[in-house]
């Protein structure tokens, strides 16, 4: 079983950027997005996100399922919010369509536009998130974090994590095989969550214990190569080029703009299309 991260955007314009850019952009975009509730602006932000995403040239067929899963999750959350609580509309005049039996929550023009806005916001965040997942070479994350100013040891931890992923994936497969040979299949059969959880243990336990026991040697090997004893060089050299600056500054600007707008304008207030209000018979 291959759980190694997929470097799908390899070679694309975005993948050639300094990996720090992709991380910063995603962070800045989230900062911008979470301050806006005016659907028109959120839509604009989503458009920006999509343009940005396209520059990553991630082959769609490889990520179709990922998108499906992501959109399902987002939609679920949004629907849940709307149905459960008619969204968060303290002190807003609502124009109701109907109220849901049992729950008694009111579905209104406002709650619908709220849902739509929230949905676009999440999708926007996911959209700028995808390149982080598929356009950064797994072996670059260590250096990336180090150069983003997180503690050195944390950065190396991340580097190591990516190093362990594929080999643990192989061990995982081997462990499953070893148990199947004894007439055991963790994936087969139905059962409640707890039953299925327990069925996982003959895999999870040896995998974990062997990984930890094996770590002893890894620890020795690191000590023996003078790990963590002083200032360290990162072979991977990261340098911001003009394009990198441009992108980061653009999204920084976006974040700042939204913050300011939040104070001086109504961008942080919900916007409801007149059409919906009319439909609701307001």
């Amino acid at each position: 079983m291959n759980i190694a991260p997929r470097y799908l955007g390899r070679g694309s314009w975005l993948a050639r950027r300094d990996p720090r850019v992709l991380v910063l952009v995603s962070v800045l975009f989230i900062m911008a997005a979470i301050q806006v509730w005016d659907g028109r602006i959120v839509a604009a932000l989503l458009a920006v996100a999509i343009l940005y995403y396209r520059s990553a040239q991630i082959p769609f067929r490889d990520v179709r399922r990922n998108w499906l899963a992501a959109l399902t999750l987002v939609t679920l959350v949004v629907v849940l919010n709307t149905l459960l609580t008619g969204s968060r509309l303290e002190g807003v005049v609502v124009h109701p369509f109907f109220s849901i039996p049992l729950l008694g929550t009111v579905v209104s023009a406002e709650s619908l536009s709220y849902a739509a806005t929230q949905w676009m916001r999440y999708v926007g965040m996911v959209t700028v998130g995808f390149p982080v997942a598929f356009c950064v070479a797994p072996s670059d994350f260590g250096a990336t974090f180090a150069r983003l100013g997180v503690p050195e040891k944390f950065a190396i931890g991340v580097d190591l994590t990516f190093r362990f992923l594929p080999s643990l994936g192989a061990d995982y497969q081997q462990t499953i095989d070893a148990q199947r040979i004894r007439g055991y299949d963790p994936m087969a059969g139905r059962g409640g969550p707890i039953v299925r959880l327990r069925r996982m243990l003959p895999i999870l336990t040896p995998l974990t214990v062997n990984a930890i026991a094996g770590a002893e040697d890894t620890i020795d090997a690191m000590d023996l190569r003078a790990f963590g004893t002083g200032k360290r060089t990162w072979l991977r050299h990261l340098r911001f080029e003009r394009a990198d600056w441009a992108i980061v500054l653009f999204f920084l600007g976006l974040a700042v703009l939204m913050t300011v707008a939040g104070f001086v304008s109504t961008s942080s207030h919900l916007w409801t299309p007149q059409l919906l209000i009319d439909l609701a018979g307001g």
Binding site: N2, A4, P138, S139, D159, L160, F162, R163, L165, P166, S167, A170, D171, Q174, T175, D177, A178, Q179, R180, I181, R182, G183, Y184, D185, L201, P202, I203, T205, P206, V209, N210, A213, G214, A215, E216, D217, T218, I219, D220, A221, M222, D223, L224, R225, A226, F227, G228, T229, G230, K231, R232, T233, W234, L235, H237
Partner: protein, 575 residues
């Protein structure tokens, strides 16, 4: 840099006991290694070799708490007073398990790791990477992901990672363990070159016969933590016991001539294997009996890699078959497909003459007991008992029979000698014992045939031999198929050899036939061991390959006979 005559490392009356151990792992060891010298450390499993290594490279006492007496000096300075960082500059270590030593996600990252930690400038590291990759002969691997490397490639990479530190003393712990003979020779050549260049080497190795190609200056033979011999190679060859260490054949022979061999080992009782059809012969001439396992043009892939390119083989129901081949040639993969652990992309697999398609792994497991290379992979239960009944229970066997099943399985793997074994946590057993338990688990399913993946890997000569002997002696077992890199082990125990190469079987036949084609043999990264040469020269006409002792005995006996005859003759003349 001290004066040249000063030893690089000087161990003086060293004794060490691990914190949780009751006995010291090494006792009163003293040794010195100077520039350009090679010290070979040998000894049975558990005798303290790795512990000595840890004491030299400072892991003891810096990483392993315990009770230490005596001293270890590097270029005159006590390791106890040095920081690991400083030791790392002068001592480079290759640990026993290369896979665990590699910390880089890519080959470059791995090579760079050491210098990065020492804060070497980026440019220098880059140059060094290329130089060292050349030295270690892994230039072709640059850019590869470390996780996808084969066992042999990993070993070389681990070595290269240490070369990057440019230490003056190299300590390597069983570097040959999972290398095919050719790759092993390559690694030894690198070490030799280092010594010739003026660096020092301390190498731990079970495969003594091969390690001697390194032309060590001195040998240290450890047993139960004490030095049983320290001195020249010749002296060592004179005292070493061929049962414990794998020695060149001429040494065993001269020992036999001097009457210095221990008593005959009890012969293996191999019933019922030999019974059944007449002496097992290569495929073709046993059509009357369907093969236990048959590959027909089997192809298989892992991810995008095509691994098996059409494997054809018939494994008889009453045969002992050894599978040899280079690292990464598809041996393990082939048997994984047979157990339906990996789907085949084309071809056909037959079991007892019937197409096995659609049969479940569990179902196949009742015919083939499969023992993995690394036993701990399958051990998870809190006690050996739970571990043993796990399989039978999954297969819905009658619980009433479990006690008997366990008793038999434990007796046949000689595990019943450990008292309270049934309640021991499996993972608290020693490596060798875990391997036996893995075998016992397979036997608890009462298979007719056994598949063993590298039963001898990482074990000393004696343990490996014993393991295979025990397996072959298991009553009720019809056939054994085993994968190994130990040529002599394969030749002496197998009725038939399968040679793998690049995902194909390139040779199939009894030992004596398979080795005839020299070019093919070498193409499979195999070498001609002294035992092979000896068998070729003195071995009898029968197909069997004799192990060193048996052959030596036969030769001595023959010589004795000749002598008697000669004397008898002279008497007649006199008359």
């Amino acid at each position: 840099m001290g004066p040249v005559d000063e030893p690089l490392v000087e161990v003086d009356d060293l004794t060490f006991r691990y914190r949780r151990a009751t006995e010291p792992a090494i006792r009163n060891l003293s040794l010195a290694v100077s520039r350009g010298e090679v010290l070979l450390v040998a000894g049975p499993s558990g005798c303290g070799k790795s512990t000595l290594i840890r004491a030299i490279n400072g892991l003891i006492p810096h990483a392993y708490p315990g009770e230490l007496s005596g001293s270890v000096r590097l270029e005159g300075r006590l390791t106890t007073e040095l920081k690991l960082r400083d030791i790392a500059r002068s001592v480079g270590t290759v640990l026993q398990d290369p896979a665990k030593q590699i910390v880089g996600a890519t080959v470059e990252a791995e090579l760079a790791f050491g210098p990065e930690n020492l804060g070497v400038p980026r440019g220098e590291i880059r140059e060094l990477v290329n130089v060292v990759a050349g030295e270690a002969g892994i230039a072709s691997l640059l850019g590869r992901e470390t996780a996808a490397l084969s066992g042999g490639e990993r070993q070389l990479l681990a070595m290269a990672g240490v070369l990057m530190m440019r230490p003056r003393l190299y300590v390597v712990d069983e570097p040959l363990a999972n290398l095919d003979p050719l790759s092993a020779a390559g690694l030894l050549a690198i070490l030799r070159a280092l010594a010739d260049r003026g660096d020092a080497v301390v190498i731990v190795e079970h495969r003594v016969e091969e390690a001697l190609e390194l032309r060590p200056d001195r040998v240290l033979y450890l047993d139960a933590g004490v030095a049983r011999y320290q001195g020249s190679v010749d002296g060592f060859l004179r005292i070493a016991d061929p049962r414990e260490v794998k020695l060149p054949f001429d040494v065993v022979l001269s020992r036999a001539r001097a009457g210095g061999l221990a008593a005959e080992p009890e012969p293996i009782d191999r019933s019922p294997l030999p019974s059944g059809p007449p002496a097992p012969v290569p495929d073709g001439s046993m059509e009357e009996e369907p093969a236990r396992l048959e590959f027909r043009a089997v192809e298989a892939s892992i991810g995008d890699y095509r691994i098996l390119h059409g494997v054809d083989a018939r494994l008889g129901p009453r045969e002992v078959i050894a599978v040899l081949g280079p690292n990464g040639s598809g041996k393990t993969t082939a048997f994984r497909t047979a157990m339906h652990l990996l789907p085949i992309t084309s071809g056909q697999i037959l079991v007892d003459g019937a197409d096995a398609k659609g049969r479940s792994t569990a179902d196949l497991a009742t015919i083939f007991g499969y023992v993995f290379q690394s036993p701990s992979q399958m051990l998870f239960a809190r006690s050996v008992r739970e571990e043993l009944v796990f399989g039978p229970r999954n297969l819905g066997r009658d619980p009433a029979t479990f006690e008997l099943l366990m008793a038999n399985a434990l007796r046949r793997t000689a595990l019943d000698q450990l008292e309270g074994i049934l309640d021991r946590p499996p993972l608290s057993l020693s490596f060798g014992q875990q391997k036996r338990l893995a075998l016992a688990i397979a036997l608890a399913l009462q298979p007719a045939s056994l598949i063993l993946d590298e039963p001898s890997a990482g074990q000393d000569h004696q343990t490996a031999e014993a393991f295979v002997r025990e397996v072959l002696a298991i009553p009720g077992l019809e056939s054994v198929y085993f994968i190994t890199h130990d040529v002599d082990l394969a030749l002496t125990h197998a009725d038939r050899i399968l040679l793998f190469r690049d995902g194909r079987i390139v040779a199939d036949g009894p030992p004596k036939e398979v080795i005839v084609d020299e070019a093919r043999w070498r193409a499979c990264n195999l070498t001609h061991t002294t035992l092979m040469q000896a068998n070729a020269r003195w071995g009898g006409r029968d197909d069997r390959f004799l192990d060193a002792e048996a052959l030596a005995r036969r030769i001595v006996a023959a010589e004795g006979a000749v002598l008697d005859a000669a004397e008898g003759g002279s008497v007649v003349d006199a008359g």
